[in-house]
Symmetry: C2
Subunit: 134 residues, 2 copies
DNA sequence: GTCCATTTGTCCGTATGTATC
DNA sequence: GGATACATACGGACAAATGGA
Protein backbone atom coordinates (compact mmCIF):
# COMPACT_ATOMS: atom_id res chain seq x y z
CA UNK A 1 0.00 0.00 0.00
CA UNK A 2 2.34 2.66 1.30
CA UNK A 3 6.05 2.49 0.65
CA UNK A 4 8.16 4.71 2.91
CA UNK A 5 11.15 4.15 0.64
CA UNK A 6 9.29 5.29 -2.45
CA UNK A 7 10.04 8.51 -4.27
CA UNK A 8 6.66 10.01 -3.49
CA UNK A 9 6.22 11.33 0.03
CA UNK A 10 4.28 9.11 2.41
CA UNK A 11 1.60 11.72 3.06
CA UNK A 12 1.10 12.13 -0.68
CA UNK A 13 0.79 8.38 -1.11
CA UNK A 14 -1.91 8.30 1.56
CA UNK A 15 -3.65 11.30 -0.05
CA UNK A 16 -3.55 9.50 -3.42
CA UNK A 17 -4.99 6.40 -1.83
CA UNK A 18 -7.88 8.23 -0.19
CA UNK A 19 -8.48 10.36 -3.29
CA UNK A 20 -8.80 7.22 -5.37
CA UNK A 21 -11.34 5.79 -2.96
CA UNK A 22 -13.35 9.00 -3.20
CA UNK A 23 -13.18 9.30 -6.98
CA UNK A 24 -13.96 5.63 -7.48
CA UNK A 25 -17.00 6.02 -5.24
CA UNK A 26 -15.83 3.44 -2.73
CA UNK A 27 -16.02 6.39 -0.35
CA UNK A 28 -19.26 8.17 -1.25
CA UNK A 29 -20.38 11.75 -0.52
CA UNK A 30 -21.10 12.28 3.16
CA UNK A 31 -19.27 9.15 4.20
CA UNK A 32 -16.69 9.46 6.96
CA UNK A 33 -13.02 8.76 6.47
CA UNK A 34 -11.39 6.58 9.09
CA UNK A 35 -10.20 8.67 12.04
CA UNK A 36 -6.69 10.08 11.98
CA UNK A 37 -5.60 7.69 14.70
CA UNK A 38 -7.11 4.77 12.83
CA UNK A 39 -5.31 5.65 9.60
CA UNK A 40 -2.04 6.16 11.46
CA UNK A 41 -2.27 2.71 13.00
CA UNK A 42 -3.53 1.02 9.86
CA UNK A 43 -0.64 2.25 7.73
CA UNK A 44 1.98 2.35 10.45
CA UNK A 45 2.65 6.06 10.13
CA UNK A 46 2.40 8.97 12.55
CA UNK A 47 -0.74 10.98 13.05
CA UNK A 48 1.15 14.07 11.90
CA UNK A 49 1.67 12.47 8.51
CA UNK A 50 -1.97 11.43 8.33
CA UNK A 51 -2.94 15.03 9.01
CA UNK A 52 -0.72 16.22 6.19
CA UNK A 53 -2.50 13.86 3.82
CA UNK A 54 -5.95 14.94 4.96
CA UNK A 55 -4.85 18.57 4.79
CA UNK A 56 -3.98 17.97 1.16
CA UNK A 57 -7.47 16.61 0.44
CA UNK A 58 -9.00 19.59 2.25
CA UNK A 59 -7.16 22.09 0.07
CA UNK A 60 -8.38 20.12 -2.94
CA UNK A 61 -11.93 20.53 -1.69
CA UNK A 62 -12.56 16.80 -1.60
CA UNK A 63 -13.29 16.45 2.11
CA UNK A 64 -14.61 18.60 4.92
CA UNK A 65 -13.86 18.32 8.59
CA UNK A 66 -16.63 18.47 11.14
CA UNK A 67 -14.72 18.79 14.35
CA UNK A 68 -14.63 16.75 16.40
CA UNK A 69 -17.04 14.35 14.68
CA UNK A 70 -14.71 13.38 11.93
CA UNK A 71 -13.68 13.96 8.34
CA UNK A 72 -16.22 13.42 5.58
CA UNK A 73 -16.35 13.25 1.81
CA UNK A 74 -17.76 16.55 0.62
CA UNK A 75 -21.40 16.57 -0.44
CA UNK A 76 -22.11 18.57 -3.63
CA UNK A 77 -23.99 21.81 -2.98
CA UNK A 78 -27.12 22.84 -4.90
CA UNK A 79 -26.15 25.23 -7.66
CA UNK A 80 -27.51 28.75 -7.92
CA UNK A 81 -27.37 30.43 -11.31
CA UNK A 82 -26.16 34.00 -11.56
CA UNK A 83 -26.43 35.96 -14.77
CA UNK A 84 -23.41 37.88 -15.96
CA UNK A 85 -24.61 41.34 -16.99
CA UNK A 86 -23.28 43.13 -20.04
CA UNK A 87 -19.90 44.70 -19.38
CA UNK A 88 -19.31 42.74 -16.20
CA UNK A 89 -16.20 40.68 -15.72
CA UNK A 90 -15.67 37.56 -13.68
CA UNK A 91 -12.63 35.90 -12.19
CA UNK A 92 -11.88 33.33 -9.53
CA UNK A 93 -9.43 33.09 -6.69
CA UNK A 94 -9.04 31.53 -3.31
CA UNK A 95 -10.77 33.39 -0.50
CA UNK A 96 -8.95 35.01 2.37
CA UNK A 97 -9.46 33.68 5.85
CA UNK A 98 -11.97 36.43 6.54
CA UNK A 99 -13.99 35.59 3.43
CA UNK A 100 -13.94 31.93 4.34
CA UNK A 101 -15.60 32.73 7.63
CA UNK A 102 -17.99 35.28 6.19
CA UNK A 103 -19.37 32.98 3.51
CA UNK A 104 -18.90 29.81 5.55
CA UNK A 105 -16.75 28.34 2.82
CA UNK A 106 -15.27 24.90 3.13
CA UNK A 107 -11.57 24.66 2.64
CA UNK A 108 -10.53 24.25 -0.96
CA UNK A 109 -13.51 26.22 -2.24
CA UNK A 110 -12.66 29.21 -4.46
CA UNK A 111 -14.76 32.33 -4.85
CA UNK A 112 -16.14 33.82 -8.04
CA UNK A 113 -15.60 37.56 -8.19
CA UNK A 114 -17.89 39.55 -10.45
CA UNK A 115 -16.76 43.06 -11.25
CA UNK A 116 -19.41 45.50 -12.43
CA UNK A 117 -18.75 48.33 -14.86
CA UNK A 118 -18.45 50.79 -11.99
CA UNK A 119 -15.79 48.66 -10.37
CA UNK A 120 -17.82 47.24 -7.50
CA UNK A 121 -17.12 43.61 -6.81
CA UNK A 122 -19.46 40.90 -5.63
CA UNK A 123 -18.14 37.65 -4.25
CA UNK A 124 -19.83 34.28 -4.61
CA UNK A 125 -18.94 30.84 -3.23
CA UNK A 126 -17.78 28.84 -6.24
CA UNK A 127 -19.24 25.57 -5.00
CA UNK A 128 -22.77 26.99 -4.98
CA UNK A 129 -22.78 29.39 -7.90
CA UNK A 130 -22.57 29.07 -11.64
CA UNK A 131 -22.39 32.02 -14.02
CA UNK A 132 -24.69 32.10 -17.02
CA UNK A 133 -25.08 34.25 -20.06
CA UNK A 134 -28.72 34.09 -20.95
CA UNK B 1 2.67 41.45 17.59
CA UNK B 2 1.66 37.90 18.30
CA UNK B 3 -0.24 36.92 21.39
CA UNK B 4 -0.09 33.21 22.25
CA UNK B 5 -2.89 33.63 24.77
CA UNK B 6 -5.22 35.20 22.22
CA UNK B 7 -8.30 33.48 20.89
CA UNK B 8 -6.95 33.37 17.36
CA UNK B 9 -4.40 30.64 16.69
CA UNK B 10 -0.78 31.77 16.58
CA UNK B 11 -0.24 30.53 13.03
CA UNK B 12 -3.28 32.49 11.89
CA UNK B 13 -1.98 35.61 13.60
CA UNK B 14 1.30 35.25 11.74
CA UNK B 15 -0.54 34.64 8.47
CA UNK B 16 -2.60 37.79 9.08
CA UNK B 17 0.56 39.73 9.78
CA UNK B 18 2.30 38.62 6.59
CA UNK B 19 -0.90 39.02 4.56
CA UNK B 20 -1.16 42.62 5.74
CA UNK B 21 2.41 43.29 4.70
CA UNK B 22 1.67 41.88 1.26
CA UNK B 23 -1.60 43.72 0.79
CA UNK B 24 -0.17 46.98 2.05
CA UNK B 25 2.70 46.65 -0.38
CA UNK B 26 5.40 46.65 2.29
CA UNK B 27 6.18 43.23 0.83
CA UNK B 28 5.98 43.71 -2.93
CA UNK B 29 5.46 41.16 -5.73
CA UNK B 30 8.52 38.97 -6.20
CA UNK B 31 10.03 39.92 -2.88
CA UNK B 32 11.15 37.13 -0.56
CA UNK B 33 9.59 36.48 2.81
CA UNK B 34 12.00 35.98 5.70
CA UNK B 35 13.06 32.34 5.98
CA UNK B 36 11.02 29.99 8.14
CA UNK B 37 13.81 29.81 10.68
CA UNK B 38 14.11 33.57 10.74
CA UNK B 39 10.39 34.05 11.33
CA UNK B 40 10.39 31.39 14.04
CA UNK B 41 13.19 33.13 15.91
CA UNK B 42 11.81 36.62 15.36
CA UNK B 43 8.42 35.78 16.82
CA UNK B 44 9.56 33.20 19.32
CA UNK B 45 7.49 30.39 17.83
CA UNK B 46 8.32 26.99 16.38
CA UNK B 47 9.13 26.39 12.74
CA UNK B 48 6.13 24.06 12.54
CA UNK B 49 3.85 26.95 13.39
CA UNK B 50 5.58 29.21 10.86
CA UNK B 51 5.04 26.57 8.20
CA UNK B 52 1.37 26.41 9.05
CA UNK B 53 1.10 30.17 8.53
CA UNK B 54 2.95 30.07 5.21
CA UNK B 55 0.86 27.08 4.16
CA UNK B 56 -2.19 29.23 4.74
CA UNK B 57 -0.85 31.97 2.47
CA UNK B 58 -0.01 29.35 -0.16
CA UNK B 59 -3.56 28.07 -0.25
CA UNK B 60 -4.70 31.66 -0.61
CA UNK B 61 -2.44 32.02 -3.60
CA UNK B 62 -0.57 34.96 -2.10
CA UNK B 63 2.90 33.41 -2.08
CA UNK B 64 4.83 30.81 -4.01
CA UNK B 65 7.65 28.65 -2.78
CA UNK B 66 10.78 28.12 -4.82
CA UNK B 67 12.60 25.40 -2.99
CA UNK B 68 15.16 25.74 -1.61
CA UNK B 69 15.58 29.38 -2.54
CA UNK B 70 12.78 30.71 -0.43
CA UNK B 71 9.19 31.90 -0.32
CA UNK B 72 8.16 34.84 -2.49
CA UNK B 73 5.19 37.13 -2.90
CA UNK B 74 3.36 35.99 -6.00
CA UNK B 75 3.80 38.12 -9.10
CA UNK B 76 0.50 38.89 -10.89
CA UNK B 77 0.07 37.23 -14.27
CA UNK B 78 -1.00 39.18 -17.34
CA UNK B 79 -4.74 38.77 -17.74
CA UNK B 80 -6.31 37.29 -20.84
CA UNK B 81 -9.94 38.13 -21.51
CA UNK B 82 -12.29 35.38 -22.58
CA UNK B 83 -15.80 36.13 -23.77
CA UNK B 84 -18.62 34.08 -22.36
CA UNK B 85 -20.83 33.05 -25.28
CA UNK B 86 -24.59 32.97 -25.08
CA UNK B 87 -25.84 29.89 -23.27
CA UNK B 88 -22.45 29.05 -21.84
CA UNK B 89 -21.98 28.55 -18.15
CA UNK B 90 -18.95 29.10 -16.00
CA UNK B 91 -17.85 27.84 -12.63
CA UNK B 92 -14.66 27.62 -10.64
CA UNK B 93 -13.01 24.90 -8.62
CA UNK B 94 -9.62 23.73 -7.51
CA UNK B 95 -7.72 21.86 -10.21
CA UNK B 96 -6.91 18.19 -10.06
CA UNK B 97 -3.29 17.17 -9.69
CA UNK B 98 -3.13 16.45 -13.41
CA UNK B 99 -4.52 19.87 -14.31
CA UNK B 100 -2.04 21.56 -12.02
CA UNK B 101 0.81 19.99 -13.93
CA UNK B 102 -0.76 20.50 -17.34
CA UNK B 103 -1.34 24.22 -16.88
CA UNK B 104 1.67 24.75 -14.60
CA UNK B 105 -0.59 26.18 -11.94
CA UNK B 106 0.86 27.53 -8.72
CA UNK B 107 -0.61 26.42 -5.44
CA UNK B 108 -3.79 28.17 -4.50
CA UNK B 109 -4.77 28.90 -8.08
CA UNK B 110 -8.27 27.72 -9.07
CA UNK B 111 -9.46 26.97 -12.58
CA UNK B 112 -12.36 28.52 -14.45
CA UNK B 113 -14.48 25.90 -16.17
CA UNK B 114 -16.61 27.07 -19.09
CA UNK B 115 -19.34 24.70 -20.17
CA UNK B 116 -20.69 25.12 -23.70
CA UNK B 117 -24.26 24.36 -24.70
CA UNK B 118 -23.23 20.97 -26.01
CA UNK B 119 -21.67 20.08 -22.69
CA UNK B 120 -18.02 20.36 -23.64
CA UNK B 121 -15.88 21.95 -20.98
CA UNK B 122 -12.85 24.18 -21.36
CA UNK B 123 -10.53 24.82 -18.47
CA UNK B 124 -8.64 28.07 -17.86
CA UNK B 125 -6.13 29.04 -15.17
CA UNK B 126 -7.95 31.52 -12.95
CA UNK B 127 -4.88 33.67 -12.33
CA UNK B 128 -4.49 34.43 -16.04
CA UNK B 129 -8.05 34.54 -17.31
CA UNK B 130 -11.00 36.83 -16.79
CA UNK B 131 -14.44 36.21 -18.23
CA UNK B 132 -16.24 39.05 -20.00
CA UNK B 133 -19.66 39.63 -21.42
CA UNK B 134 -19.16 42.06 -24.22
C1' DG C 1 34.64 20.88 -9.35
C1' DT C 2 34.18 20.59 -4.28
C1' DC C 3 32.73 22.09 0.03
C1' DC C 4 29.55 24.37 2.86
C1' DA C 5 25.81 27.23 4.52
C1' DT C 6 21.06 28.14 3.71
C1' DT C 7 16.29 26.91 2.99
C1' DT C 8 12.43 24.20 2.32
C1' DG C 9 10.42 19.26 2.57
C1' DT C 10 9.32 15.36 5.17
C1' DC C 11 8.61 12.61 9.30
C1' DC C 12 8.44 11.49 13.97
C1' DG C 13 7.03 11.99 18.97
C1' DT C 14 4.67 14.47 22.59
C1' DA C 15 1.53 17.51 24.95
C1' DT C 16 -2.54 20.24 25.71
C1' DG C 17 -7.01 22.24 24.39
C1' DT C 18 -11.80 21.82 22.95
C1' DA C 19 -16.02 20.07 21.20
C1' DT C 20 -19.04 16.06 20.71
C1' DC C 21 -21.28 11.91 22.07
C1' DG D 1 -17.69 12.00 33.84
C1' DG D 2 -15.34 9.48 30.30
C1' DA D 3 -14.10 8.36 25.59
C1' DT D 4 -13.35 9.98 21.09
C1' DA D 5 -11.65 13.11 17.51
C1' DC D 6 -9.76 17.05 15.57
C1' DA D 7 -6.76 21.67 16.43
C1' DT D 8 -2.80 23.74 17.90
C1' DA D 9 1.96 24.00 19.21
C1' DC D 10 6.40 22.42 20.50
C1' DG D 11 10.66 19.84 19.78
C1' DG D 12 13.99 17.21 17.05
C1' DA D 13 15.99 14.91 12.99
C1' DC D 14 17.40 14.07 8.33
C1' DA D 15 16.93 14.76 3.16
C1' DA D 16 17.32 17.45 -1.05
C1' DA D 17 18.34 21.35 -3.78
C1' DT D 18 20.44 25.71 -4.49
C1' DG D 19 24.08 29.02 -4.53
C1' DG D 20 28.28 31.05 -3.24
C1' DA D 21 33.09 30.60 -1.50
Amino acid sequence: MIDPSADRAVFRQLADLLRNQIESGSLGPGEPLPSELRLAQEYGISRTTVRQAIGQLRTEGLVTVDRPRGTFVRVPEPIELIALARGERASARMPTDAERRKYRLGEGVPVLVVTATDGTETVHPADRVQLTRP
